[in-house]
């Protein structure tokens, strides 16, 4: 779906933000891109829908190269993006107006707009807020509106760029649940974050550092490798604890990735001894 060949990006101030990145993302994949601040992860994803253009190398989305300006519209139709701060992307007076905005611009018939908007709001669990002003919603609900607005445009792939970083624990879980359902509904999902606990349900975890891809594997393999701390990231406490039990040979088999899994593993083990 997205193919990146030898991509480098140099900002006007001379900073090399991406340094010969090669990456291939398949249709339907759930990829998490993690890395410390300044590692180049946001720069990388902005190349995937032609918000930034390569200094050298190329980016190909569904066979279209981002260097050809006439394809930008089609690329952005295929790959949408949700940003960190939902307040900066609201345009409507009410939630349903906001979700309808993109479709109205496409010139869609009003009956179809109504149907799409209702379906997307229902998918995001926001039906009861359709007539509410987005500014009166909580941070998590705002992010869900932003996601519903993007879903309404029916992209094949959605990039979530640090969408959880301004949210508290409960809203964060809520938004992650929605991101997981978006993936289950068949979309390609690319989620940028520095919280590794958000990678546990992904197919693939990519860690970036200093403009390069330094790790690219399943989340479990990367967690077990013990390498994330080399790149300024921290294992979630539960996974660090599970890894300790596994490294010491006390627990065997799959690495537990959630607190419920680890608790079950430990209970069974204690009962056996």
């Amino acid at each position: 779906m997205i193919q990146i060949n030898d991509l480098s990006h140099r900002f006007p101030n001379g900073n090399l933000a991406l340094d010969s990145v090669n990456l291939n993302i398949k249709k339907g994949e759930f990829v998490v891109i993690a890395g410390r601040n300044g590692s180049g992860k946001s720069t990388l994803v902005r190349h995937m829908n032609a918000l930034l253009l390569p200094s050298s190398g190329n980016v190909i989305v569904n066979g279209m190269g981002s260097s050809d300006q006439k394809d930008h519209w089609d690329i952005r139709q295929a790959v949408s993006m949700v940003f960190q701060n939902p307040d900066s992307q609201f345009v409507g007076m009410t939630v349903e107006e906001d979700v309808a905005f993109g479709l109205e611009n496409l010139g869609m018939a009003s009956d179809n707009i109504r149907e799409s908007v209702d379906r997307c709001l229902q998918f995001a669990g926001l039906s009861e807020y359709s007539k509410t002003s987005p500014i009166h919603l909580s941070g998590g609900q705002k992010q869900k509106v932003a996601i519903a607005s993007v879903l309404a445009m029916y992209p094949e792939c959605i990039i979530f760029d640090e969408v959880t970083s301004m949210l508290d624990h409960a809203s964060c879980n809520d938004v992650m649940d929605l991101i997981n359902s978006v993936h289950k509904a068949g979309k390609t999902v690319i989620h940028v974050t520095h919280r590794l606990e958000e990678a546990t349900t992904a197919d693939r975890l990519i860690v970036m550092d200093a403009g390069r891809i330094v790790l690219d594997d399943t989340p479990s393999n990367i967690f077990l490798s013990g390498k994330v701390s080399d790149f300024g990231l921290e294992l979630p406490p539960i996974i660090a604890l599970a890894k300790k039990f596994k490294d010491s040979g006390i627990l065997q088999g799959y690495l537990a990735l959630s607190k419920d899994e680890l608790l079950e593993d430990l209970c069974q083990l204690i009962l056996k001894t």
């Binding site: 941070g139 921290e234 406490p237 607190k259 209970c267």
Partner: protein, 276 residues
């Protein structure tokens, strides 16, 4: 010597159609020398609450007193220092020295005494004297935070309030920050940390206040918190408590990964762990 809040009620946009109740009958007391954590979800009223403690907001009803003085008197601001989230945004001086001096100078401190207080504050924050003449905006993000904190400490507050001080800091810098707070607390300054994350700070504090929808829903020691049922627990103590509740013989006031590992391992194989 304490901050005393009695039956505090506060609404934003009072008597308009946008009226929003933020605090509902909050009473609490923080003694000088206490280290407390105020926690709750985003929008629960934590920031509104602390803004009452140095008079940035005035109660709609109820009372807020610092060392017996109601907060609408100006002089309590030198007693209660406040550090907002992203404190680097509080910086404005041409030089680090100018920035840190601003607070105490405004409280009427001059000359050598001012120099001494600025110097002491920089010292507390591990800031080298050589950066005093540098523009704070040329410093790294981490150093800017330290300068902002020094700026608050230079006024020698008795109470220091920090709103989400660890947000955006990586693990190493969080540890440094918390060791600084411990040091300040050992010098007798009350530390009031506001955070929606409990696990980092809880092991350090004397008391915890949980706030939900503008009401205090829990007050007590970290131990009382861990023993309470039906409150959200961080993952490590959650696992330990679940094991404990299922009848296994483990301690549950554990936040540390290594300690949790040791506790469970010794249950599984007491001899082996003892030998080590």
């Amino acid at each position: 010597m304490s901050i005393d809040i009695k039956n505090l009620i506060f609404s934003y946009n009072r008597s308009t159609s946008l009226e929003k109740h933020a605090l509902n009958d909050v009473s609490l007391s923080i003694k000088k020398g206490d280290f407390v954590l105020i926690s709750g979800e985003v929008g629960s009223g934590k920031s509104t609450l602390i803004k009452h403690m140095n008079g940035l907001l005035k109660p709609c009803s109820g009372s807020v007193e610092v060392d017996g003085i109601p907060t609408h008197k100006k002089d309590i601001r030198s007693k209660v220092g406040m550090l907002f989230q992203f404190p680097q945004k509080q910086l404005f001086g041409k030089t680090v020295d100018e920035d840190i001096s601003f607070g105490p100078a405004n409280f009427g401190i001059k000359g050598n005494q001012l120099k001494k207080q600025v110097h002491e504050a920089m010292d507390l924050m591990f800031l080298d004297e050589s950066i005093a003449s540098v523009s704070p905006f040329d410093l790294s993000g981490g150093q800017m935070r330290l300068v902002a904190m020094a700026g608050v400490l230079a006024s020698k507050p008795d109470y220091l309030i920090l709103d989400e001080p660890a947000s955006g800091l990586d693990a190493k810098n969080r540890k440094i920050l918390f060791s600084i707070l411990k040091k300040l607390n050992s010098k007798g300054i009350s530390i009031i940390v506001v955070s929606h994350q409990i696990s980092d700070v809880l092991p350090l504090v004397d008391r915890l206040f949980l706030i939900d929808s503008g009401k205090i829903v829990f007050k007590g020691s970290p131990d009382e918190y861990l023993r309470s049922t039906n409150l959200y627990l961080p993952d490590i103590p959650w696992i330990m408590k679940e094991l404990h509740d299922r009848g296994f013989d483990v301690k549950f006031d554990i936040f540390d990964i290594d300690e949790a590992f040791y506790e469970v391992s010794s249950l599984l194989n007491p001899q082996k762990v003892d030998e080590q």
